[in-house]
């Protein structure tokens, strides 16, 4: 009987499928969400081995030319710099002079670059300004300046259209052996490269003055390299600086010298290791989840492991390594993998539990750093100019005091850098062959965009389904009530009825608007002089609540349709919210996948569960009470400050948490223009639909999202 009806209507299969999904929206959302979370947990299992995709790179095909000769020359530089540190007076200027002297003795072109460190400040409208409008500095920072030293080797037969950059952060004031060692590595490579004949790209060595942080000098140099301000009257680099008392110092120009487009950049650092072997740490995450081309990591990994015998590691969440549930999850996957193997020996899903834990810890860290949007090192500055860059941090198992050990270290480090540069030098095109969108689960394993997007899509899929089914339900409800009334007024009534969702959209928009206001508030709060983070935070909360009340008074309360309205009303509101939420997440996943993924993990369950508290209270049944509790817990957890504190508590223990921490965190995020900032204000609008008095934060800032899209595109 039913079948004949359907066949009479001749609905197309896709429509039938949609109807089926809508009618079982609860089941669909439960299945999809579970599958999404499961898919995310499965990612370490699905990771593939990395491989060098660009054939032109040919890493390690030429034998290393770096010899002890260069190392002993580098040792001379290290010795001279270390001697300077023993008498700190005047070490700053002299160390620049020494480095510049060594560079120009090699035949490189040397210049100094003077910069003012930019204090971390809120620039709420920074999105609007183009890259070439120079950022105005406050007068207070005028007196502070740092000096970068830049040496350029021109490729013998190259045409100077491309360059490879080598960066060594160096703090002349309190730089220790660590930093001079990284200078030593760079110097040994640099001195070799002045003599080789195979060089096709220019080499730029930037000794970044890291007394104001490692990021600031690199970013300042890149800014002046790419977008110089021609009309700056009191420009820094015109004034010649006669600080040094030797003649050589005054000969170095302060004008910026250029080479061509940068093909790749390597940032070198040395750390005291506490491990059993020499390791090399790779840091790749740049601002807003941008990653360098995977090939760059691949060649470093290949050369470090197969040529220099270093152990390569990428960042991990160490607290995850010891966590029990990850371990047991790993065991589950291990046994699952074994079971799958018995079914079909060709399916290689098996992964040992230990590997799973390692992979999960690395993946979580990778996801976290990409989501946070704060670069993990000075290499982040390069990515803003579309230059592939990574930070390499060498760590040694014993101290650097023994000379033979140190020479050995310099030789290995130098040969690694030489190999990487030689590989990049082989490149005819810019890096494009391998992946830009990936998550690392180990230095040699990665999850590509095609895989991790599935998990995200599953997680987000219920949103449109639920929104549509809610809307469909209200439509089903209302026409029946209309039919009871007179048939004459139907025309106008049904038109009004079908545009009813506009009202809910208005509410959603107002809440979003309020969210945008709240997210701009810190800019004004930060103008308050002499305030500590805790008071700032409380002022922020107070102002937010105040503005919410004002908004409600102006816009929402006159209609006061939230309360005492038929059941369909809140359903439409919820469906509008969910749709806007879906659009927001979809956009965000294009800009920064990790942010969208974490956001979806927090928000999707809450968005789906949301139900007016009042109705639940009235309901009195076990089911509605359970739902109420779930809603409350989810609502609290996904309230951004709460999320932050819970997360921090899990990692570091609940003891030392202060309210001001959140403010500091927000401040840093803003300073880095992080897209995650959007989520701070990302609260549950759904709670708003359930009960307004349970006031709370807020709304996805879609408008801001669009601006960010423009900024980072």
């Amino acid at each position: 009987m039913a079948e004949t009806e359907v066949s009479k209507k001749r609905k197309r299969p896709i429509v039938r499928l949609a109807v089926l999904l809508l009618s079982h929206s609860v089941l669909v959302s439960v299945i999809c969400c579970t599958a999404g979370v499961f898919g995310l947990l499965l990612l370490p299992v699905l990771a593939k081995n990395t491989y060098i995709s660009e054939n032109a790179l040919m890493p390690g095909s030429a034998s290393s030319m770096l010899s002890n000769q260069e190392v002993s020359e580098a040792n001379k530089l290290i010795k001279e710099l270390n001697n300077l540190h023993s008498n700190p007076l005047g070490a700053t200027t002299e160390s620049h002079g020494i480095i510049a002297k060594y560079m120009s003795n090699l035949g490189a072109q040397v210049n100094n670059h003077k910069f003012h460190p930019q204090l971390n400040q809120f620039h709420p409208l920074h999105f609007f300004s183009g890259p070439d409008s120079g950022v105005m500095q406050e007068n207070s920072t005028r007196s502070l300046y740092g000096i970068n030293t830049v040496g350029i080797i021109r490729a013998p037969r190259g045409d100077g259209k491309e360059a490879i950059v080598l960066v060594t952060p160096y703090n002349a004031v309190k730089g220790g052996v660590r930093e001079t060692l990284s200078l030593g590595i760079a110097y040994s490579v640099f001195s070799l490269l002045t003599r080789v004949t195979w060089l096709a790209k220019d080499i730029i060595w930037l000794v970044a003055d890291s007394q104001y942080g490692e990021y600031a000098p690199v970013a300042a140099w890149l800014r002046d390299y790419h977008t110089p301000a021609f009309s700056n009257l009191d420009s820094l680099n015109t004034e010649t600086c006669h600080v040094g008392n030797n003649n050589f110092e005054s000969k170095i120009s302060y004008g910026i010298r250029r080479s061509g487009t940068m093909a790749a950049a390597l940032v070198l650092g040395v750390a005291y290791g506490n491990e059993n072997e020499d390791t090399l740490g790779i840091y790749a995450e740049a601002s807003n989840g941008q990653m360098p081309n995977l090939d760059l990591i691949n060649i470093v990994h290949y050369l470090a492991v197969h040529r220099q015998g270093l152990r390569v590691k990428v960042e991990q969440f160490h607290w995850l390594l010891n966590s029990k549930w990850v371990k047991s999850l790993g065991e589950v996957f291990e046994s699952l993998g074994k079971m799958v193997k018995t079914l079909n020996p060709d399916w290689k899903l098996g992964i040992s539990a230990a590997d799973y834990v390692e992979g999960a810890a690395t993946l979580a860290s990778s996801l976290y750093h990409q989501a946070l949007g704060v670069p993990t090192g000075p290499h982040g500055a390069f990515r803003d100019y579309q230059v592939d860059a990574i930070t390499l941090e060498f760590s040694l198992r014993i101290s650097f005091d023994r000379l033979d050990r140190r020479n050995d270290f310099l030789l290995h480090g130098g040969r690694l850098i030489e190999g990487v540069i030689r590989s990049v030098n082989n490149l005819l095109e810019k890096f494009h062959q391998s992946f830009f969108l990936y998550l690392l689960t180990s230095p040699s394993k990665f999850v590509s965009v095609g895989v991790y997007m599935i998990a995200f899509a599953l997680l987000v899929a219920p949103l449109p389904v639920v929104a549509a089914s809610l809307y469909a339900k209200t439509l089903d409800l209302n026409p029946t009530s209309e039919k009871d009334k007179s048939a004459t007024s139907n025309e106008l009534g049904s038109v009004l009825q079908s545009w009813k969702w506009l009202n809910s959209v208005k509410t959603v928009f107002v809440v979003h608007f309020w969210g945008a206001t709240v997210s701009l508030l810190p800019y004004f709060i930060s103008q308050i002089p002499d305030s500590d983070p805790t008071t700032n935070f409380s002022v922020w909360i107070l102002l937010s609540i105040l503005s919410l009340e004002i908004l409600r008074w102006i816009l929402v309360s006159p209609s006061s349709h939230i309360y005492g309205l038929p059941q369909g009303e809140w359903a439409i509101l919820k469906s509008a919210t969910i749709s806007s939420f879906f659009i927001g997440l979809g956009l965000m996943s294009v800009i920064n996948f990790a942010t969208a993924e974490i956001g979806a993990l927090l928000m999707v369950p809450m968005a789906l569960m949301a139900h007016p508290l009042k109705l639940d209270v009235r309901g009195q049944s076990l089911r509605s009470i359970l739902r109420m509790i779930c809603n409350l817990v989810l609502g609290v957890i996904s309230f951004p400050p709460a999320t932050f504190f819970v997360f921090k508590g899990v990692i570091e223990g609940f003891s030392g948490i202060k309210a001001g921490d959140f403010w500091n965190w927000v401040e840093s995020l803003w300073a880095w223009n992080s897209a995650t900032y959007l989520y701070i204000e990302y609260g549950n609008i759904d709670r708003l639909s359930s009960d307004k008095r349970e006031s709370n934060k807020d709304a996805p800032l879609l408008s801001c999202g669009m601006l960010l899209l423009k900024e980072f595109a």
């Binding site: 995709s53 000769q69 003795n105 035949g107 072109q109 890259p131 070439d132 021109r154 013998p156 037969r157 190259g158 045409d159 100077g160 259209k161 491309e162 003599r195 080789v196 004949t197 790419h226 977008t227 110089p228 021609f230 009309s231 700056n232 009257l233 420009s235 015109t238 004008g255 250029r258 061509g260 487009t261 803003d384 100019y385 579309q386 005819l428 095109e429 810019k430 494009h432 062959q433 391998s434 992946f435 830009f436 965009v449 595109a713």
Partner: protein
């Protein structure tokens, strides 16, 4: 049977005899013409060597062939390459220059003011310009045909210059012309031996004898700069007896590092003593005498004025050498360096307007050397000398601004060099001291330059364009038809510390088949040209008969009135839409 055979052999013998006679006659007649060539065609070869401050050595080969105008001599040539003569005749070429270059001329270290660098420093890749003696409407057709011919002649992709998107017709800044000049460059053309071999084929002795025998391929391509150039001038007969006919100047300019890097290690950083070198150590060969049919064959060693000045200073310091003045000793064996061969002639630059120090050129004639006793010139340094080459008044650099896949800006920045203060600057017009600078820049059509966004900054202050730009000629690009050309004549106030120009552009959206292979390499914007017309790039030598016979030295004396400087090409990477076809997506 036997009879038949013998008859055949007889016949064969007769034919062979006849052929032999013919051949003999031919060779005798040709050698005879070589001997009596004095009135007609002539060929001379020269080599100039010059040490550079950064421990490198410049070797500049110059081969000059001249032929009287073909109408008077029919179509037969003895020395002059027939291919070139035909080309000149067929395409009515009045003047032409073709250069193949690898590497950059380093203006800061190798100088940019002397006639040598301003004539021979060329942009990387291929550069071709030609002036035609035809009506303006036909110039483009002749240019297209010329590029194809040259392409075949030199085994290079010069034929890509036929497309109207690649060449332009400068009017203001490049050379005085009347609409019949065409200029085109291929910034990414690789230069190799396959281009050198046809170039050598134009020489009467090829590389078998004479100075060109030095051209050991590995050593000349190992250098830091390599530029092979061919310049043609032709004039109608009758106007001037000396200049009429076709002149072909072939030059090869290489900058080499005398010692290999292995041995270069041994010098310590503290003593900046220059490496000693000899012809055989640089090239790995000696000069086995002159090319027999060359009118003259000379080697010169030039010490530029910075070096001579520095040497004189050192001389003065060492009182005991006071007796050895440069003039008397000829400078060849003093406390600073030693030349292994006694020079035949010493030329000193005279009356250099600003200089106390003048450059010195030693001349060596190769004629008396032979295979058994090859010519090998060596220079041995005894004490460290530090000097710098004379630089052009302004140091020009061009770079890209901005990042991203959509838009950017081209910036040109000019900064005065140290030497410019001492120069007899520029012209005083209306009581104002001004420096004239010409800029010529070609931009391919897919870089959509907005010429109205031209911004001018002098001394870090924005200026109105009319204040600085005397004349400007802009021809905007047409999509897929012609490149954008900008020519500017600037008048910069003297003593300005810096000048900068910026032009914004959008990157064009290309159709997928408009991308070249290896599209992610990006596109090159050809080198821009900057010249200083108010400066004379010439050297004055005391009048000497010898000078007029020497192509290099007479070039020095009657150099171009312009300083040409190239701002090296820059590379713009376009976002490739088709990229996702690769595995990554």
């Amino acid at each position: 049977m036997a009879i038949l055979l013998s008859r055949r052999s007889n016949l064969l013998a007769v034919v062979v005899l006849l052929l032999c006679q013919l051949f003999l006659y031919a060779t005798v007649s040709s050698s005879g013409s070589v001997l009596k060539q004095g009135g007609g065609e002539e060929f001379s070869e020269e080599l100039l060597l010059k040490p550079f401050p950064d421990r490198k050595v410049l070797a500049h080969f110059h081969f000059q062939s001249r032929a009287p105008h073909s109408s008077s001599h029919g179509r037969h040539h003895h020395l002059f390459p027939k291919a070139i003569a035909q080309l000149v005749k067929k395409f009515r070429v009045k003047e032409m220059e073709l250069s193949f270059t690898q590497g950059r001329w380093r203006y800061e270290q190798w100088g940019g003011f002397d006639p040598l660098s301003s004539n021979n420093a060329k942009p990387p890749g291929v550069e071709l310009w030609a002036v035609f003696d035809v009506p303006q409407s036909l110039v483009d057709v002749y240019w297209r045909n010329l590029t194809h011919t040259l392409s075949g002649l030199f085994c290079a992709s010069i034929n890509f210059l036929e497309s109207s998107t690649t060449y332009s017709a400068p009017e203001l800044t490049f050379k005085p012309s009347f609409g019949n000049l065409r200029y085109g460059t291929l910034p990414r053309e690789a230069v190799c031996t396959e281009n050198l071999t046809p170039w050598l084929k134009l020489l009467p002795c090829r590389d078998k004898a004479g100075l060109s025998a030095l051209m050991d391929r590995p050593s000349i391509y190992r250098g830091f700069y390599h530029s092979q150039r061919l310049r043609l001038t032709s004039s109608e007969s009758g106007s001037d007896e000396v200049d009429s006919g076709i002149g072909l100047d072939q030059t090869l300019t290489v900058v080499l590092q005398p010692s290999s890097w292995r041995t270069g290690k041994t010098y310590s950083v503290e003593t900046n003593i220059q490496p000693s070198w000899s012809i055989s150590s640089i090239f790995g060969r000696n000069i086995p005498g002159k090319c027999v049919i060359a009118k003259s064959s000379n080697v010169y060693l030039q010490l530029d004025n910075g070096l001579v000045g520095e040497l004189k200073n050192l001389e003065r310091e060492n009182a005991k050498y006071v007796a050895n003045t440069f003039e008397s000793e000829g400078f060849q064996s003093n406390h600073a360096f030693k030349i292994s061969v006694t020079p035949d002639k010493v030329f000193e630059e005279v009356d250099n307007l600003h200089g106390k120090s003048t450059s010195v050129i030693y001349g060596f004639s190769v004629e008396k050397y032979s295979d058994s006793q090859p010519f090998d010139l060596g220079l041995t340094w005894k004490i460290p000398v530090v000097w710098s080459c004379q630089q052009a008044p302004l140091h020009a650099s061009r770079f890209l601004m901005g990042s991203g896949n959509e838009r950017g800006a081209i910036a040109i920045s000019l900064e005065p060099t140290e030497s410019s203060e001492g120069l007899p600057t520029s012209h005083i017009i209306d009581g104002r001291c001004e420096l004239r600078v010409d800029i010529f820049q070609v931009v391919p059509w897919y870089i959509k330059v907005y010429f109205h966004t031209l911004q001018v900054f002098v001394d870090k202050q924005p200026r109105a364009m009319a204040d600085v730009v005397d004349k400007i000629r802009v021809s905007p690009s047409k999509d897929k038809v012609s490149p954008g050309v900008m020519e500017m004549i600037l008048k910069l106030p003297c003593g300005s510390k810096s000048a900068a120009f910026s032009l914004e552009f959008d990157k064009g959206f290309l159709h997928i088949d408009e991308y070249p292979p290896d599209a992610n390499q990006g596109f090159d914007i050809p080198s821009a040209l900057i010249s200083f017309p108010s400066f004379n790039a010439r050297m004055n030598f005391s009048e000497d008969e010898f000078l007029n016979n020497s192509p290099i030295l007479s070039k020095f004396q009657h150099a171009l009135q312009r300083h040409h400087h190239y701002m090296h090409s820059i590379c713009i990477v376009f976002w490739i839409i088709a990229q996702c076809a690769s595995e990554a997506c």
